[in-house]
């Protein structure tokens, strides 16, 4: 915890010292931007920052939250893992909470939403209503055009979204500008980006081991609707980020059938 505070302080300290450069590109991150621009990649990450407590009191009414069992981290305060695979306009997004994963596969204009559960050591995939066949829903581009692409939770969507080409980011979202780069005592290097708007400020640091992206850390401050200053941090450990889509993820998992909308 102390180390995380130090990191947040270091990231913010870097911004008070650096003059912002409005440069679009920055060496090591370019390789990753290109993978996202080409839409050919596999990303595997772990969010190691526990989610904030959402409720204003520790007890939570179970009947009210039953319908929200698909968002467990808000109530269990644990980190989670995830995966994003892209191949052109096909996409697989998974958010993994240990025994439970929320999955979405987009193939052409078919979107399949399903879950993975582990019970007594056995892994099964089912539709959200527990069936062995998932019926596709039609891809609705409207939401993505207006609000941006989703890669899982809002933190992950935002931090990976920083690397998307500008014509894929809706106007009105924070603009991240390159601030600077440097080396760390442990042999790693970093590149810093900053976004500031009327809503607040966010600093994002990309950590590299050589040219390999290993971590993304963000610290942000904003004012909520009631005028209170709210700070949050998010740290993603990157286990894999390569330009080769994992094709096994772009088809339905074992035991789960797909019912396409295409005739």
């Amino acid at each position: 915890m102390r180390r995380n505070k130090w990191m947040a302080a270091a990231v913010l300290g870097a911004f008070t010292l650096c003059l912002p450069f409005n440069m679009a590109s920055a060496g090591k991150l370019d390789a990753y931007r290109n993978m996202l621009a080409q839409r050919n990649c596999t990303i595997s990450y772990e969010n190691i920052t526990p989610a904030e407590r959402e409720h204003n009191r520790d007890s939570s009414n179970l009947s009210a939250t039953f319908g929200r069992m698909s968002t467990p981290p808000l109530y269990t305060h644990k980190g989670y893992k995830g995966m994003v695979v892209m191949q052109g306009e096909d996409r697989y997004v998974e958010t993994n909470y240990g025994d439970y994963s929320k999955c979405q596969l987009k193939k052409g204009s078919d979107v399949y939403d399903f879950k993975r559960e582990v019970k007594k050591g056995k892994e099964t995939w089912k539709s959200f209503d527990g069936k062995a066949t998932v019926v596709a829903s039609e891809f609705q581009p409207e939401k993505e055009l207006l609000y941006g692409e989703s890669f899982g939770t809002s933190d992950v969507s935002r931090l990976l979204g920083v690397m998307l080409p500008k014509d894929r980011i809706p106007a009105g979202q924070p603009v991240y500008n390159y601030v600077g780069a440097g080396n760390l005592p442990n042999g790693q290097s970093y590149e810093d980006y900053k976004a500031s708007s009327a809503a607040g400020l966010e600093a994002v640091r990309y950590y590299f081991d050589g040219t390999k992206l290993v971590r993304i850390a963000s610290a942000s401050y904003s004012r909520n609707g009631a005028g209170q200053l709210v700070g949050r941090k998010c740290i993603l450990k990157i286990m894999d980020f390569s330009g080769t889509p994992d094709s096994s993820k772009l088809s339905m998992p074992a035991g789960l059938k797909a019912k396409s909308l295409q005739k």
Binding site: P141, L146, Y147, K166, P170, G172, A226, Q228
Partner: protein
């Protein structure tokens, strides 16, 4: 000029059969109503919920139809927001508007979702883009009137006014467009349709059916709430822990105090 804009423009024209450059005369009246006082009730095709919104410059109330009766759901005034619920009888919870984003609020009370209930339906927001209860995605540009024409929907013919909003991206371009067709019959606005214009295709996203749309606020509906008891919103204090909501009086008292 952005080629996407040209293609989108061609498709916008393709949605109409002959263009005239002025809005329907009734459009100005509806725009006026939405800024002053009105009663609007509507439903979406394919959905069972029917909504009734009544309001004036100072307040707005939304009700939902259940078993042929309109049940109040949310009331917004100049400085407060009330949500109604049924616990044997109709009761209300109140929150000052300036506390809406506070982290002390209980997520179970869903105050932000309640406030969103006071918004005009998107298809009609083109007539009142600056409406204080209606918000728009930042990527969506303001509507531009793009022409009037005759339009066939099912077996009926309507006078159609079309408005187009650009969906903008950070590269400064237009990623797509939303087109809103407001359909009039005999001078009255009866339907509205929303289309997405994207990658050369047009996709119908929704059809709004208007049951009632007239000037004048429904004071009767609001005064019917006079005896409803009002409780404070949960703010994470000792009253929440004890499950003991604090009563603030009745709606009649609260609303009279507003005047």
């Amino acid at each position: 000029m952005n080629w996407k804009k040209i293609v989108a423009g061609v498709f916008a024209c393709g949605l109409m059969m002959g263009t005239v450059s002025a809005q329907q005369p009734a459009a100005a009246e509806y725009q006026n109503m939405l800024q002053q006082d009105f009663v609007l009730s509507y439903g979406y095709e394919g959905k069972t919920e029917k909504v009734r919104i009544t309001g004036d410059a100072g307040k707005r109330m939304t009700a939902i139809l259940q078993e042929n009766l309109w049940y109040p759901k949310v009331l917004g005034t100049n400085d407060k927001i009330y949500q109604f619920y049924i616990e044997k009888v109709t009761k209300a919870k109140v929150l000052p508007l300036n506390m809406l984003g506070s982290d002390k609020l209980s997520p179970d009370e869903k105050w932000t979702e309640k406030k969103d209930r006071l918004a005009l339906p998107e298809e009609l927001a083109v007539l009142a883009w600056q409406d204080k209860w209606t918000s728009h995605p930042q990527s969506l540009g303001a509507p531009a009137f793009s022409g009037s024409s005759k339009r066939q929907v099912g077996s009926d013919e309507y006078d159609c006014d079309q408005y187009i909003c650009d969906i903008r991206n950070q590269a400064g371009g237009v990623s797509g467009q939303l087109a809103y067709n407001l359909l009039y019959k005999d001078g009255k606005l009866v339907k509205a349709q929303k289309y997405l214009l994207y990658k050369g295709k047009q996709q119908l996203l929704s059809t709004l059916d208007i049951m009632e749309f007239k000037a004048g606020v429904d004071e009767g509906a609001i005064s019917k709430l006079n005896d409803v008891k009002v409780y404070k919103a949960e703010l994470g204090d000792i009253n929440d822990l004890l499950d003991n909501p604090v009563e603030e009086g009745t709606m009649g008292g609260a609303l009279n105090a507003q005047k």
